[in-house]
């Protein structure tokens, strides 16, 4: 069913940057930097990229001759892989750099790393870092485009874009929907980007979590705040689950996994409070049996695999939007 809807929603021809007005941002650092029309523009561009990955020859070489560096200070399989495939399908030369570092191991500073990479004259650097604001700091020190692939608990803009694209394809619209996000709200960059993006598109946003996983002031960022999951899921169109880090369920933040799952894990009984056609999302990687029942994760309402597919389309669109406009000048 989801496949049929997705096929219907996708445009007929592979898009290219030429079909869209120039994208007037140098970097993609946060959803907070984007205006509503820029968000919609990126979603439209991503929509047009979807068919590229479904062709026999998955190639749309608008980035031919360009160099993309994926600089990951934090390990990531999905996001890094997604950016790599996106870049390669657009014909860019992609280099992956995983830097094992922490604030404790003093060595080359972030600024030094930025200067070193900059000297290699890349066209775009995709950065993930464990510290909020680190990607923006790096962007100030390089001469190329920078894409934030997640900075601490701050933002993860391409995740919010791929989530929105998935919702739009599934529901045919975004505006006016009710989206519930459940889990470790306090430590999640996905939540912050999603609340900003969905808020800009007039979505009714709800966050659901035990009080100690709700950050201070969250009531100003989400439309509604719930500590009771059933209450929070009532009548919603989209259920977005978040990963619970295992180390938080050791008695310091959360007493145990079984208690967390009992009250905040998504199972059929709780999901029944949402609308019958509600979709279930998860940014991954999932902890089956911690925040989500495996039967739900693999069930008919789940669009988790489509999220991964849309991730590639969104990242192709973002790379394409940021790069041509600059080099053709």
């Amino acid at each position: 069913m989801a496949q049929a809807r997705a096929a219907k929603a996708s445009t007929t021809a592979a898009g290219s940057s030429g079909d869209f007005p120039p994208f007037n941002q140098r970097h993609l650092l946060s959803i907070a930097d984007l205006k509503q029309h820029e968000i919609v523009d990126l979603l439209d561009r991503a929509e047009a990229m979807v068919p590229v990955s479904r062709q026999e020859r998955k190639s749309h070489p608008t980035l031919s001759g360009k160099t993309q560096i994926n600089l990951f200070f934090e390990p990531s399989t999905r996001t890094q892989g997604s950016f790599e495939i996106a870049g390669k399908r657009l014909g860019a030369l992609v280099m992956n750099m995983s830097v094992k570092t922490s604030s404790v191991t003093k060595g080359e500073t972030l600024i030094d790393t930025a200067a070193t990479l900059n000297a290699m004259r890349p066209d775009v650097i995709v950065v993930r870092h464990s510290a909020a604001g680190a990607v923006e700091l790096l962007s100030q020190k390089v001469g190329c485009a920078v894409i934030n692939a997640g900075d601490g608990a701050h933002e993860h803009p391409t995740q919010a874009l791929l989530d929105a694209l998935t919702i739009r394809r599934q529901k045919g619209r975004i505006s006016g929907l009710t989206v519930a996000i459940c889990g470790d709200i306090a430590n999640s960059r996905v939540v912050r980007s999603n609340l900003l993006l969905l808020g800009a598109l007039n979505v009714r946003t709800r966050v659901i979590a035990p009080r100690n996983l709700l950050p201070s002031g969250i009531e100003h960022l989400a439309t509604e705040v719930f500590t009771d999951m059933r209450e929070g899921l009532k009548g919603c169109d989209v259920v977005m689950m978040l990963r619970l880090q295992h180390e938080r369920a050791n008695g310091r933040m959360i007493p145990s996994v079984r208690e967390y799952y009992r009250f905040y894990g998504l199972d059929a009984e709780k999901l029944a409070f949402a609308k019958p056609d509600a979709i279930v999302m998860h940014p991954g990687p999932m902890n089956r049996g911690v925040e989500i029942d495996p039967a739900i994760a693999d069930g008919v309402q789940s669009v988790i695999n489509e999220q991964v597919e849309m991730g590639v389309a969104v990242r192709m669109a973002v790379l394409d939007a940021l790069l041509p406009a600059r080099s053709e000048r």
Partner: protein, 432 residues
Amino acid sequence: MSRPLLIENARIVDPASGTDAKGAVLVENGLISDIAIGAPIGVPEGAEVINAKGLILAPGLIDMRVFTGEPGKEYRETLQSAGDAAAAGGITSFVMMPDTAPVVDDGALVDFLIRRAKATSKVNVLPAGAITKGLAGQEMTEFGLLQEAGAVCLTDGRHSIQSSALLRTVMSYAANYGMTVVHHVSDTSLTGDGVMNEGLFATILGLKGIPREAETIPLARDLQLAALTGTKYHAAQISCAASVELMSAAKKRNSSVTAGVSINNLALNENDIGRYRTFFKLSMPLRSEDDRQAVIEGLRSGSIDTIHSDHDPQDTEVKRQPFAEASDGAIGLETLLAAALRLVHSGDVDLLTVLRAMTSRPAEILGLPSGRIARGAPADLILFDLDYPWQVSEREIRSRSRNTSFEGARLAGKVMRTIVGGQTVHMHAEES
């Protein structure tokens, strides 16, 4: 023997006596020898005469919280460069925090610093002795020997003693020597890995917050222990409304407890952090505007006694980092007075109250003869233009480090001349 110095036609503002009137001051042999309000003083033979028309003559400022890099991190700040910056800012004495390498936890080091400062610094450097060895919060230092060597108070600098039992012992023992215990109030477990004030703004930035309770809980404890032990206690710096209330209540019962506030918490708030500007990463953290208003009210009402610069030189290496990984601290010697005068210009606090918090109150708390314009007091004086407009520029900073939280700020009020022990140690360039 130096020449006598006569400063006439000045607006003399002396918080200790409550004076704010036109007059003249005569300086001889490094001391204030005569004061005349509304009447001239005859010019002694050979005297240097300064016509201070249009300027305020006030006691030189006493800054109760200054970090230097000497010894150990001279590339950040030396006693000489700190002294130059202080002189330019109208600070004639500063209390040097013991957070150096090595830590100032031994009388011999206090003695060395005093001699080193005499040789290199334009202003009086007053070393504070560490409360615990190595600032580790475990074992007491030798308070008596530190005092004999010249330590003006006891403090663990930016460290906070977590053990209530140890702090009780420290306070009882310090009371023996009449030494003031100056304590940074921070519950390290509640602070955790927080890096800015807890609240909506921290949540938006994705940064871990520091709750106000990390400050108020140890403050409440300290005030009770101070009452129990009868020691002179000074909360090094408070930053929020609830702390002001605690101080106000404690002062009604116990006259020997006092509190300070950093100029940063009076002049700035958490919104100044903007997009991860690490020069605004401070300890105490910048709080909300409501808290800022509350500490201003605390200053006005007397719940807060002193204003200090919290001068903390940090180099680019540790500041140009992601916010959570950057070091705390900002320099402030050169901007303390002008930033404090903002409160006067805005009508929030009167001039005498603002100056009192940087002159006579610190002197009283530390038992110093300076901080007042009185016959026989040391001639540590400043002449400043209350309204002189200027803009803070990184290029003109005298400190070896440039981490100012007032870069580009437009301020009114400039020191035209700084006098330490009767000697002019700084003159504003346009006047010279």
